[in-house]
């Protein structure tokens, strides 16, 4: 099953995604793909908070800042967290795919979609407030929108998390 989870900042989407991975997985391994590149105190704190939140839930963590297609997740239930960081890495990091970011990410997602038992992708709602954006920011928002649309087409379930409540836009998980 492929599940796309979106939500605003601090909406509870990560916790929902983690619990869903635990719920959907059976005997197979659970893999957490971490995409946030650690720099500065704030991101380190964020990473630490996430590590503590998923402690005891049985995830093996794989870091992937760029090049999703190179990661080996065969036959596991994968939680990818999160698309907004992966896109920023592919666009702005030295080893990133730059103007091929969209293609690079979608190649990776299609591969994961075929190889995994369940693929849960966490993405962000960044489309509600674009007033202060310059052209670079707008391009980022556009690309994340495209990625969400493309994953949405493949997904069995699209779920938006609003302050910890899942709202299903496609399919449903009881």
């Amino acid at each position: 099953m492929i599940v796309l989870i979106t939500g605003g900042s601090a909406s509870g989407k990560s916790e929902y995604g983690e619990n869903l991975a635990v719920k959907l997985s059976k005997a197979e391994k659970k893999t957490y793909i971490a995409t946030m590149y650690p720099y500065g105190d704030e991101t380190l704190q964020k990473i630490q908070r996430h590590k503590e939140m998923r402690k005891g839930k049985g995830f093996e963590t794989l870091e992937c800042f760029c090049g999703l297609k190179n990661i080996d997740t065969n036959n596991s239930t994968v939680l990818l967290e999160c698309m907004s960081n992966l896109l920023a890495n592919e666009l702005y990091r030295e080893e990133g795919a730059k103007d091929k970011a969209l293609e690079e990410i979608m190649t990776g997602i299609q591969k994961l979609g075929k190889e995994t038992v369940n693929l849960i992708i966490i993405s962000n709602e960044v489309f509600g407030d674009i007033t202060a954006s310059n052209s670079e920011m707008l391009e980022y928002i556009r690309l994340l929108g495209r990625i969400n649309l493309e994953i949405g087409k493949m997904a069995d379930v699209i779920c938006e998390v609003v302050y910890s409540i899942p709202i299903f836009h496609k399919g449903v998980i009881k």
């Binding site: 605003g8 900042s9 601090a10 909406s11 509870g12 709602e125 302050y163 910890s164 409540i165």
Partner: protein, 131 residues
């Protein structure tokens, strides 16, 4: 507790007044009201504004929420849904929207009903069945 969210200017307050038969004087504005009033008011509007004030004045958000959940269990809380844009460059703004998100999740955990209002239409997105 009842929690009502949705974008700015979507008719959240009007919905609350109509649906729960609320008079204007039963509503306090989180942006302006004296803090002690939130513990007795029937409706707390602009919960996000209350959080902004608390952060700016360096007051403990978690203490206020804890007291609120304890003292005003039947309150209706209205909060504008924020945090659906790019991560702000400003540190305080980042902290603010993070605080709003976490705090609203905490309120929702204790709520019997949650509504989301869009263009004046309220959708009940959660019902604990105990209300």
């Amino acid at each position: 507790m009842i929690f009502v969210t949705g974008g700015a200017f979507q008719g959240k307050t009007e919905f609350v007044k109509e649906h729960f038969n609320i008079q204007e004087q039963e509503i306090v504005d989180g942006c302006l009201c004296e803090y002690h009033k939130i513990y007795h008011a029937r409706v707390i509007n602009h919960f996000e504004g209350l959080l902004l004030r608390l952060l700016k004045e360096n007051k403990s958000v978690s203490k206020v929420i804890e007291d609120l959940l304890w003292e005003n269990k039947n309150a209706i809380i209205i909060s504008t849904e924020i945090g659906c844009g790019l991560v702000p460059v400003d540190t305080f703004e980042r902290e603010y929207r993070e605080t709003v998100g976490r705090s609203c999740c905490q309120i929702v955990k204790n709520a019997n009903q949650v509504y989301r209002v869009h263009c004046g239409i309220a959708t009940k997105i959660y019902d604990s069945g105990n209300s």
